[in-house]
Symmetry: C2
């Protein structure tokens, strides 16, 4: 298991929430270890892991003192508070609310409905049914997100600085492509995502660049 004096991320290559925290750790340049929890093999249900996170979910960020943090946005806000260089939230409460609202719209209103456990419940082993369900909800969410970004975006989601919102956008677009959402319909989302993926902090956090990504899934 993890050494006791280092931050440890419990992660799965394809988990959107893990992907967000991977980007934030890269962005802040925080030295850490990774422990890979294979959701496809059900490792999140192991007794040892359940004692770390009773919700059986990734990511978990285990701090050097042994305390464990859950929920990607809570973890990233913790990192932003404790590693203030390269801030992920703007100054000014209205702008902060605007950034958090974009992140939370993705995290609460688009992503959960196509989470693995929901897809299994809806589609069973029928992959076409899973894709149809996920595509429907992401497409619907992106229609609203595109309109929101039309009012807020500069180079990135809110103005010209990288924020929490951008960290949530990239993993969501990754999922959208996986579920065959037509990204041509969403030029602003697509443009910001492509710009972000030119940055090493974002690209090196991507699922296909993780050690636990099976070779056949690398692009």
């Amino acid at each position: 298991m993890a050494s006791e004096d280092k931050i440890t991320l419990f992660t799965f290559f394809r988990s959107s929430a893990s992907y967000r925290v991977r980007i934030a750790l890269n962005w802040k340049g925080i030295d850490h270890e990774s422990i890979y929890i294979n959701l496809a093999k059900g490792e999140q249900h192991n007794e040892e892991y359940k004692s770390i996170n009773p919700s059986h979910m990734v990511p978990v960020l285990k701090l050097a003192d042994g305390k464990s943090l859950t929920q990607s946005e809570a973890i990233i806000e913790y990192l932003d508070e404790t590693y203030p260089d390269r801030p992920l939230l703007p100054h000014g409460p209205v702008h902060r609310a605007q950034v958090r609202a974009i992140a939370q719209f993705i995290a609460c209103d688009i992503h959960p409905i196509q989470n693995l456990s929901v897809l299994k419940h809806v589609g069973g082993d029928d992959m076409d049914k899973r894709v149809e369900w996920a595509n429907h909800w992401i497409d619907r969410g992106f229609q609203a997100l595109e309109k929101t970004l039309a009012g807020s975006a500069g180079i990135y989601c809110v103005g010209d600085n990288i924020t929490l919102a951008d960290i949530f956008l990239v993993p969501m677009v990754y999922n959208a492509k996986r579920f065959k959402v037509d990204m041509q319909k969403f030029p602003i989302i697509n443009r910001i995502n492509n710009t972000l993926l030119t940055l090493s902090e974002f690209s090196s956090a991507s699922p296909e660049n993780q050690p636990d990504c099976p070779p056949e899934m690398r692009q």
Copy 2:
């Protein structure tokens, strides 16, 4: 419509996310007006409302200067930053992360899957099917939440002070009861919820105490 010098909440009596913001406005003692958007009648799809929130969702908090904020947690963090009396987040980044994680577990992992638009998609007009689906996901979420609270709770979700986590708990339990979740299985959640509902800031925000609640739905 709303007057121009007052905060305005766009709300629907039965919306969990609106319920959270109503509690926070009461907790902070913030004078405001309410505009009622009847989700059951589809008023969130009106052109005027869509221009305020492209995601067609409630709540929206319109500030005195005309700016509109969306997403309940982003709105409540805004209120906590701009009205610092009676803080809703503890001092110390680890405790803040713990509080935010409980709120986000409810907002991201339990609530969205039984949101009205998902229920319609899953169950159509079959109310039994809607209840079965919602009950399944809330019960599953509450099993994890009960374990988390066993490690964090005092009088309230995290220790003995009211936090953001408590504001998210009460509307979630309201939904659980609506979808016939057996609350006897979750003694800590049940006890904290009952304690919170003795406080006027929480009870007066409840769906049945809203002017837009139809008389036949009042308890």
